[in-house]
């Protein structure tokens, strides 16, 4: 069949044969199937407008419009399958690519994203996100962690401690994600683990997004005195999102154990070998 599939004993991931994008994830152990569309988008950073002169900058995230633009609706793909790894290499653009990976025994999908240098030749600052869209009926709720320990429930356009008059429909719903963000319909849960702190949100039911990189052209007048604009051609950044699909009631065990392995990952040290014994005897 033309459908691109990678799988191991626990997980199967399907990719659209025409666009090369991820379209479905399956937890084989629990017979869970979730149609899921993952792609990269970018918000056009505000330089100030008639509502407010506030620009997007180091302190402030303020996109100029609610709808982000797609980096690309299709990817050039390569499929690699060996006994020890199955991976789909996706090339979205000159400055955005990703490898979707499965190792034997792994209970999550590894998305290694590489973003940058972000082009700003069009004089638009860009705030790049990875967004996962599903049909989960999440009723405006999503969950983000606080320093990897406490999970906080977030409700769109709402604050538990005061009556919010939402003036920033995107940025006003972004929260810090130190290690994980998830959405659930009470039966299935989609969790994304991060390898560093990122901004994240769920701006529509069934959707989940994480900001991976930014490059802006105007200072936000909060004290830094320069835009968030790396010198030269700009930085390119590589990181990983680990995607877990579980039953809602058993999801915590999965993401808590995996997040520990992510944060306290093994360290590799190399040596030529054949060194002298440390102890004389």
């Amino acid at each position: 069949s033309r459908v691109l599939v990678i799988q191991n004993e626990h997980i199967r991931a399907k990719f659209d044969p025409d666009t090369g994008l991820l379209v479905e994830m399956e937890n084989l152990d629990q017979n869970l199937v979730l149609p899921i569309h993952q792609a990269f988008y970018w918000y056009n950073a505000s330089m100030g407008d008639n509502q407010s002169s506030q620009a997007s900058g180091a302190y402030i995230f303020r996109p100029s419009r609610q709808k982000p633009l797609l980096v690309s609706g299709w990817a050039q793909t390569h499929l690699v399958k060996t006994a020890l790894v199955q991976e789909v290499h996706q090339n979205f653009s000159a400055w955005c690519s990703q490898v979707v990976r499965l190792y034997p025994g792994q209970r999550h999908l590894e998305l290694e994203w590489t973003v940058g240098p972000i082009p700003v030749g069009d004089d638009w600052g860009k705030e790049v996100i990875s967004r996962f869209d599903t049909a989960l009926e999440t009723k405006g709720l999503f969950y983000t962690d606080s320093n990897g320990r406490e999970i906080l429930e977030r409700r769109r356009d709402y604050r538990p401690t005061w009556n919010l008059n939402q003036t920033e429909p995107v940025a006003g719903n972004y929260y810090p994600v130190n290690s994980r963000i998830y959405i659930t319909d009470g039966h299935k849960q989609l969790t994304v683990l991060t390898d560093r702190s990122q901004g994240g949100s769920s701006l529509s039911d069934g959707s989940l997004e994480l900001m991976v990189h930014r490059r802006l052209l105007k200072d936000d007048a909060r004290g830094v005195g320069e835009p968030l604009l790396e010198a030269g051609s700009g930085l390119w950044v590589r990181g990983r999102h680990l995607v877990l699909l579980d039953k809602a009631q058993s999801a915590a065990a999965g993401h808590r154990l995996q997040a520990e392995k992510e944060v306290l990952a093994p360290q590799v040290v190399l040596a030529w070998g054949g060194g002298a014994p440390y102890h004389p005897e």
């Binding site: 004290g223 093994p266 040290v269 060194g275």
Partner: protein
Amino acid sequence: YGDSVPLNEAMAVLQHHDAVSGTSRQHVANDYARQLAAGWAPCEVLLSNALAQLSGFKEDFTFCRELNISVCPLSQTAKSFQVTIYNPLGRKVDWMVRLPVSKHVFLVRDPNGTTVPSDVVTLPSSDSQELLFSASVPALGFSIYSVTQVPGQRPQAHNLHSIFQKPS
């Protein structure tokens, strides 16, 4: 002599919200990175001394800081080398090791000298290869694997499927 104080101090300086969230001028962000990098070097000596004492052999340990972009001069040139994997978790982990290597076939042995399955994968849209093997590492401990190049053999290509043309 190794020393972790410079790295401790760099981490202490980087508790400032500017370092945590990037709300600083570029030259300040560059200086944060400089302090961290300066702290790594003496810390790597400290780790090497600890590994030498614990493993019982004085090795010239090498820390490849750019494994995430498949750069590691030692594994890319050596015909044989050792891989020490340290696990900071309080439980045993199985972990897939990926190392950039030259275009050859390699034999990987575990700490007991038993050969473990390994693969060499050619990274699409680049001409570099990575050696993969699964390592089992004890809780709060380390395992030492040995890697040896098998002369005269070439890795088989694994790229099975490529979509180049843009869909209609």
